[in-house]
Every structure is written in C-alpha cells, then in structure tokens.
Amino acid sequence: MADTVASIASLIIDKLLANPKVPRDITGESKIVEDLAFDSLAVMNFVMEIEDELDVSVPLDKLADIRTINDLASCLATLKTGTSS
C-alpha cells in the first residue's frame, strides 16, 4: 500500500464511516473533535485502531498538534516513511 497522505486519509475516512454515528459528509478537512464529536477517549481509541492497521505508534506530542483528518494522515505518513524528527 502506498502510504501517501491521500491514501491514509482515505483509509481513515473509510474506518470512520463504518461507525454509523459519524456524519456521512466528512472529508480530509473535517476536525476530529468538533466535526466528529469525538471526546478524548474516542480519539485515543480511534488512533489506536489506525496504529494497528498501519503498524506505527503515534507519539503523544504529535497527537497534540492534530486537528483534522488530513493532519492525522500526514502525521501517520511521516511516521511510516520514518522521516519524522
């Protein structure tokens, strides 16, 4: 799987849409907390699911900067290619 930001964003959106409570019109720009109505526990559980899928661990300080689905995808893509600082 080409771990580009776009493909990862797509994976994230597919996983989110599997949850019937998630709005159907989410995009890469959707905000994880506000637009998905995820509380911190839900965010943590969701990130762990994606970590399992992509076989990466997202450090907590990186998580603090993530607002949108694209932010998360971008962070994951960086971790997968091993170019993070």
């Binding site: 943590m44 762990m48 076989d55 907590l60």
Partner: protein, 263 residues
C-alpha cells in the same frame, strides 16, 4: 481584554447541567468530620463512605495519631526547606531505609505525595533520547509526568502485553532507553495489571519497567507489596512507586529503584 475563563464555558455548562438534576453538587460533597474509617458526617447525617482509598482503615489509627502528635511536638510542624537544602531530618532517612528494606531495594526516595513521586521519578528517568510507554488508562500523574519530561511518549492498550510487545518491536532501532509504566491496580476500574506478562515483554525488548503500586500496596501480595509480589516478578520490576495516602492513610510517597540511580 480576553476573558481568561472563557475557555471553561463549556465545562461550566456541563457542570450546571449535572447539578440541575441533582439535589447536591456531586463534586462538592463535604464531610463535616470523620466518625470512623468508614463513616463520615455529611449534611448532619452519618453516612457510609464507599469512595475512600482507606483500604486498611488506618486513617483513624490511634497509634498513628499518637506517634504523629509526639513527633510534631518533638520536631515541629514542618522542615521549611527542600530535601537537598535543610529539609532532610533523620526521620526521613529512617523511613526511606525502612521502605527500601520492606521492598528489598537498595534505595528509596520519599516525596510529599504519590502524584509528585510520579512527576519526579518518571520525568527524570526518561530523558529526551528515551521513550516512555504508558498504559492507556494511566493515572493523571503519569500522563502529567510524561508531559513534564522530554521523552517521546507512546501509549499502549490498557493491560495488553501483546500490544506493548508490538510497540516495543517498532522501537527496535531506537538508541535510547525504554521505560514502560504500568499500575498495579487501576484506580477507576479496579483492573489488575498482568504484571508478570508485562515483565516478560520488557525483558524481551531490553526495556525498564516502573510499577505504580499506589492502590495495590498494602492490598495485594502476601506481604502487601503489591501485584509484583503477588505475581512473583518483583525482581523484574526496576522501579516501584507507591503512596501513603491509600492503604497507609497518610500523605507521603515512595519511589524505590532496584539499581543505584541516586546515591
């Protein structure tokens, strides 16, 4: 001028919503005074206390109160200084040595609260080149300690040694130290950590293990040393943190390393 409290508007509304449907503010319960270790006077009524951490009922120990009164009369009500300045009395050292003896460790360090023991120990142990691996259900003091320090912080699924194993495997090329932090008993759920399994995983990956036995000290293990004692894996736990505020009913804490970290 920006209202500094504006960011709490949502929380304030949520709290108001909660108390609107309740005869009292659940966060504002006041115990006028304790009647016993398990009963308190609340709103003039004797009330059973199911929410304390008074596991051995020692908060009302007469022997402890008498010893405290005698000590205060002899030594005063405070040291008025930090431990490295003028704040170390012989009693501090005696207590630390006794605790180290109880836990069969070489050293022990006392803090004023268990919260501070975690802040101090965890932020100092894991530095900027190291990685901290925390159980997802960790207490706030452990999360705060991880933010206070400079280590990279990774969470693993609660009580899941397999997930820890997976995450440590991802760090196989990492040069710095890896410190895994777990609790003996988790305060909100009462879940007990599979300590032996965590110990096996940390050994496999050359990591260190810190066990916060705050809720398990005095409660589990034949000698009350916690989950690590119960599981027979104390030798594999590199650092143990505990507190006096639960089973021992008094504020003070401990952080006991096996190895010589502090002289």
């Amino acid at each position: 001028m920006t209202d500094i409290f504006a960011k709490y508007a949502g929380l304030k509304a949520a709290a108001a919503g909660l108390t609107a449907h309740s005869p009292r503010n659940p966060f504002g319960v006041v115990i006028d005074h304790p009647v016993s270790a398990t009963v308190g006077l609340i709103e003039g009524r004797e009330t059973l206390l199911f929410g304390t951490n008074n596991y051995l009922g020692l908060s009302q120990s007469k022997a402890a109160a008498d010893a405290a009164i005698e000590t205060v009369r002899r030594e005063g009500v405070g040291t008025t200084g930090s431990r490295i300045a003028n704040g170390t009395f012989a009693l501090h050292r005696k207590l630390e040595m006794r605790l180290a003896e109880v836990f069969r460790r070489r050293h022990c360090m006392i803090f004023s609260t268990g919260y501070q023991a975690n802040l101090g120990a965890i932020s100092a142990l894991a530095g900027k080149d190291d990685v901290l691996l925390l159980d997802a259900d960790s207490h706030a003091s452990i999360y705060d300690a991880s933010r206070l320090g400079y280590a990279q912080v990774i969470r693993f699924r609660h009580n899941d040694p397999t997930d820890l194993d997976r995450r440590l495997a991802r760090l196989k090329d990492h040069q710095g130290a890896k410190l895994v932090v777990v609790e003996g008993i988790y305060s909100m759920t009462g879940n007990v950590a599979p300590m032996r399994e965590f110990a096996e995983v940390k050994k496999k990956h050359g990591a260190y293990l810190l066990a916060d036995e705050a809720h398990s000290f005095g409660v589990l293990g034949e000698n009350g040393r916690g989950v690590a004692e119960r599981d027979g894996c104390e030798d594999d736990v590199d650092f143990v943190v505990g507190t006096f505020s639960k089973s021992l009913a008094r504020l003070a804490v401990i952080a006991c390393p096996i190895s010589t970290v502090w002289s």
